[in-house]
């Protein structure tokens, strides 16, 4: 599973999301925090969606989260995912104010519950996946 990068569709890197994607290449999950209103948000944007300030900075989150809801996908869009099915796609709460959509690997759908704890992949594994990806957090 590690090493070779799969032929997954990649995000289009631009001035809005470059820092986020670079953080993930280092195995980190970075989100934006607004210097004006103090709120944080995902996905990356050129303005704070709460107050429209452009005084934005990046904050690295601990990379732990909790499943809010999920789906097990047996018919992914892109052919590059066909050998990975089922794909567990979840809404994951990664901070008090932030839920995002992400894959959870190394888990069968039957084992996922609302509230299942997950953590980011290690940096050595991160390279294979275009976006922050999680695995069960066994602790």
């Amino acid at each position: 599973m590690t090493g070779e990068s799969a032929e997954y569709p990649r995000p289009q890197e631009d001035s809005d999301n470059r820092d986020f994607l670079e953080a993930w290449r280092d195995g980190c999950l970075a989100v934006q925090v607004c210097g004006a209103c103090g709120r944080s948000f995902f996905y990356p944007r050129p303005l704070c969606p709460h107050c429209w300030s452009d005084r934005l900075s990046w904050q690295t989150l601990p990379g732990k989260g909790e499943v809010v809801s999920f789906s097990a996908i047996y018919r992914p869009n892109h052919p590059s995912f066909f050998s990975d099915i089922p794909i567990v796609l979840a809404e994951i709460r990664v901070a008090e104010e932030i839920s995002l959509l992400a894959r959870i690997i190394d888990i069968v759908p039957e084992a996922v519950r609302i509230g299942t704890r997950v953590r980011l992949l290690a940096k050595s594994e991160a390279n294979r996946y275009p976006l922050p990806t999680f695995r069960p957090d066994e602790r």
Binding site: P9, P11, F70, A72, I73, R75, N77, L89, Y129, T133
Partner: protein
């Protein structure tokens, strides 16, 4: 012009097909010709044009006018996905009220197939392309699997309840020659169908197809005798609630009270509901948020009602997208056309016996996790 004297004075639909070599314009043209004939108008009487279509770019409402040889004083490009067509009718009526046009042709349709739909969804907008597609998100199916599970976990909604929507609509589709799926469907078959994006199975999902729908909006007195349909009320909402990837609401709950206040009728007065049925779970959420039952109680509501054209709550009486197929943005107009057809008494073997008014709802433009747009209109037969 007096807003109460504006309505839908004609409608049309193209043939629906699973895949095609035909151009998008040819489907839009077919629906347009039928709508014009239904309105009893000549082509050059149209002075406003609205179109909703995913596959239309790089074309738009203005270049469509060129294709169709129309010169118009008002042009509108739907940007709200499956909520766009109902929104286009609301806006067309406003344009006529304000004197920008007199007769507006509203079109919606697409000519894709299953593979085309997947390509479309992978590139639907920047947020999905960048933060959905690279996860193998399964298009809309994966996202609505997440929403349905959340509804089931939060409120105890069951698949045996949701399935009654697909099963009821299929019974109506069996009386619709233009529905692509007309074989009988049992609840057992619904429950045990192939898993697509658990908890969604095959009959929770629509079949992407080619087709187009059209309505003509104009002064009620321009309709053929006895065929005018009044617009009693209409509202739309976009990007609600902001910042939530998988909400169990979409905006209907914000405008519901205004909608019924304007119409002068409540949900109990509706003789049919044409709800946007990309998935039964979204129909269920519309029934809740448009006041047919309290929030969170749609499961028992579904269990005690039946949804075929002759059921206790006539729902998507032509079979809806779940049985007819989803002709892209045309899916946002299929219910409008069916509602008008019913109110004009032209629904043939599935004609409702007693029909005075009904509700048509739109939903769509999937962004980061859910449909961003909602729209609803209440229609009444002019007697």
């Amino acid at each position: 012009m007096d807003a109460t004297q504006i309505g839908i004075i004609g409608y049309g639909q193209s043939v629906y097909v699973k895949r095609t070599e035909r151009s998008l314009f040819s489907f839009l043209a077919e629906a347009s010709r039928h709508a014009l004939a239904s309105a009893g108008l000549r082509k050059d009487e149209i002075d406003g044009l609205a179109v909703s279509s995913f596959e239309l770019p790089p074309d738009n409402a203005v270049t469509l006018a060129e294709q169709f040889g129309l010169s118009v004083s008002w042009a509108y490009l739907g940007t709200a996905g499956g909520a766009g067509p109902v929104a286009s009718v609301i806006n067309a009526a406003r344009a006529i009220t304000a004197g920008h046009a007199e007769i507006v042709l509203c079109l919606a349709g697409d000519n894709y197939d299953v593979a085309g739909h997947y390509r479309l969804m992978d590139n639907f907008n920047r947020a999905l392309k960048n933060y959905g597609s690279p996860h193998g998100f399964g298009g809309a199916n994966g996202l609505f699997g997440i929403i349905q599970r959340k509804h089931m976990e939060t409120y105890g909604t069951e698949r045996t309840q949701l399935g009654r929507i697909s099963v009821g609509q299929r019974a109506s589709a069996m009386l619709n020659d233009n529905a692509l799926l007309r074989a009988p469907l049992t609840l057992e078959e619904y429950l045990n169908a192939r898993v697509i994006a658990d908890p969604l199975r095959l009959y929770d999902c629509v079949l992407p197809c080619a087709g187009a729908e059209a309505v003509v909006v104009g002064p009620l007195d321009r309709a053929p005798a006895g065929k005018a349909v009044r617009i009693l009320a209409g509202y739309e909402r976009h990007n609600h609630p902001p910042g939530e990837p998988a909400p169990l609401r979409g905006g209907w709950e914000l405008f519901r009270d205004f909608l019924y206040r304007d119409a002068g009728f409540g949900p109990e007065d509706m003789d049919f509901v044409q709800a946007y049925d990309d998935y039964p779970i979204m129909v269920a959420i519309q029934l809740e948020d448009l006041g047919f039952c309290p929030k969170g109680e749609v499961g028992p509501f579904l269990a005690r009602h039946s949804f075929a054209w002759n059921g206790s709550l006539p729902l998507n009486t032509g079979g809806g997208q779940l049985s007819c197929g989803q002709a892209g943005a045309g899916g946002g107009m299929i219910g409008l056309v069916e509602g008008v057809r019913q109110l004009r008494g032209e629904a043939g073997v599935r004609q409702l016996a007693k029909v005075r008014r009904g509700l048509v709802s739109g939903y769509g433009m999937v962004g980061y996790g859910h449909g961003l747009s909602t729209s609803t209109i209440i229609l009444e037969k002019v007697s």
